[in-house]
């Protein structure tokens, strides 16, 4: 039973290996079970409960919250909540895509620097990040105000009525989102790009030629681990974002995050908030599953 085996050059037995692994994993595992899984599981029964007249939780079993989510409110049918869900998916997707398109050039730009300078440039990407998202988002309000150059330029070009700000608008939401999440994409992507095997790239270049093909067959497969982490780190918080649409969307571009925030902050409808939360988690998981399946295919090719 205690057969010897070689694991990463180590001569050991399966049980002792398992035991050591378990010991390493245990603290983190218990922590996540206690403070993430269990609390999360409470959301499930909560989503079937109802809000009492005074905003308290009434523990019953009803599908009311989910019906409401689908649009069947006490005031007749309206697909607002469903639209918000779709909008959330779309905004998160576009944000991730833009971040990706910007992150590759940044990662390669940093790589092109002498080794001693790279840390500095990478830090440069991280620094704005140390300033809280709320203030950075507010800062965009400053930048997009009517008195500032951007709005002046837009009104000089006839795109904007003089004296109006560039926010609230869809454009402002995307600008805010991208500048909020870009470092999340750059950091993991760079860690992959840095280790890129140059000789392999050259081989691909000889084989295929064009820069697009080099990227597709040389860069992409090699940077996939970092890319995956980057996409997850960007897409997921983008799905749950509410500060940016709150401050730059002017209550016109609501995402599910805003709805959840409202359910907990202003409606005090915890059961409905729980239902919305679960649907958001489900949606996020679904999107990631699709991505991962697709990701695997790229890896094989």
């Amino acid at each position: 039973m205690n057969r010897l085996l070689v694991w990463y050059g180590e001569l050991t037995t399966a049980p002792s290996l398992f035991l050591r692994g378990l010991l390493l994993v245990l603290p983190g595992m218990v922590w996540l079970l206690a403070f993430l899984v269990l609390p999360g599981l409470v959301l499930l029964p909560l989503s079937f409960a109802e809000r009492g007249a005074f905003g308290e939780v009434v523990w019953t079993f009803s599908w009311e919250n989910y019906r409401r989510l689908l649009g069947f409110g006490v005031l007749g049918y309206s697909p607002d909540n469903l639209l918000a869900l779709l909008r959330t998916l779309w905004v998160a997707l576009v944000t991730t895509l833009i971040c990706l398109l910007l992150a590759y050039p940044i990662a390669f730009f940093i790589r092109s620097k002498p080794r001693a300078q790279r840390y500095l440039w990478l830090s440069l990407v991280l620094i704005p990040f140390w300033t809280n998202i709320v203030i950075r988002t507010y800062a965009w309000q400053l930048l997009l105000a009517p008195e500032m150059p951007f709005a002046r330029l837009a009104s000089a070009l006839g795109l904007l009525e003089p004296g109006m700000a560039l926010f609230p608008s869809t454009l402002a939401v995307y600008v805010g989102m991208v500048s909020a999440f870009l470092p999340f994409m750059v950091l993991p992507l760079y860690s992959s790009v840095e280790r890129l095997d140059e000789s392999l790239l050259e081989a691909v270049r000889d084989l295929y030629g064009g820069p697009w093909r080099v990227f597709l067959h040389g860069v992409l497969p090699q940077t996939l681990p970092g890319l995956t982490v980057g996409v997850i780190l960007t897409f997921v918080p983008a799905m749950g974002m509410f500060v940016v649409p709150d401050l730059l969307g002017g209550a016109k571009h609501l995402l599910v995050g805003n709805l959840i925030q409202q359910a907990f902050y202003t409606m005090r409808d915890w059961p409905y908030g729980a239902a919305l939360s679960l649907v958001l988690v489900l949606l996020t998981l679904l999107a990631l599953r699709l991505y991962r399946r697709h990701g695997k295919e790229v890896e094989l090719a």
Binding site: V25, P27, L36, V42, Y119, T131, V134, A139, S191, V236
Partner: protein, 258 residues
Amino acid sequence: MTRAVALSALALLYLPMLAVALFSLNRTRHGLGWGGFTWEWYLRLLQNEAVLEATRNTFLLALLSTLLATLLGTLLALGLERHPFGRRFRGFLETLLYLPVVTPDLILAAALVVAFGFLRQAFSLFEPGLPAMVVGHVTFQVAFVALVVMSRLQGLPRELDEAARDLYATYPVYLRRVLLPLLTPGIVAGAMLAFTLSLDDFVISFFTAGPTSQTLPLLIYASARRGVTPEIHAVSTLIFLLTVLAVLGGERLTRRSV
């Protein structure tokens, strides 16, 4: 081309900070008219007890939670990435790790509020305040640290481990002499990420903070809705400059050691 895109993307990150810095020196209290240059807001900061306390709380919270999360996360990564667990257990652990990553912070906050509500009846630890905030922050930081370290572990060639194990016999020695030094960039990157996540967090803090553990993000959010005061611009600019200094200092240190 790459250079142009990279530099303009960086500009996108820095423009907002530039604007904040500019307006922190503006005499006008409300609005965007330029009322002349002043240091007044910075001087006022020194007397603003709320801002000073929030600054202290913010960094204390980030430091404590990052330390704890880095430890737990690195152990998780080592255990998961370098040990042959059964398919099921491994899948379970991976799901567990991805859960906080695929859970938007708002939902974690909501779940924590409900859970802390129950736990509070047994342990005073979960009353709103710094301990509860640390618990909340570590919960979302752990997975990020673990993922970054794991991605680094995956990048290490297997031959390296094997060669190392031929040289060093026991696991602790191997861990200390080979794996951890190799992993240090990953661990540092993970810790940095965790630290920024903590500094950046608003939602979880909002749901778990008490009146004596206000952090800067909470203060800033409240002010943003009230109409941001120039003092807030000033404190943001200061944090920003402090960060730049810290990073430059860090870079200097690493260069010297090389």
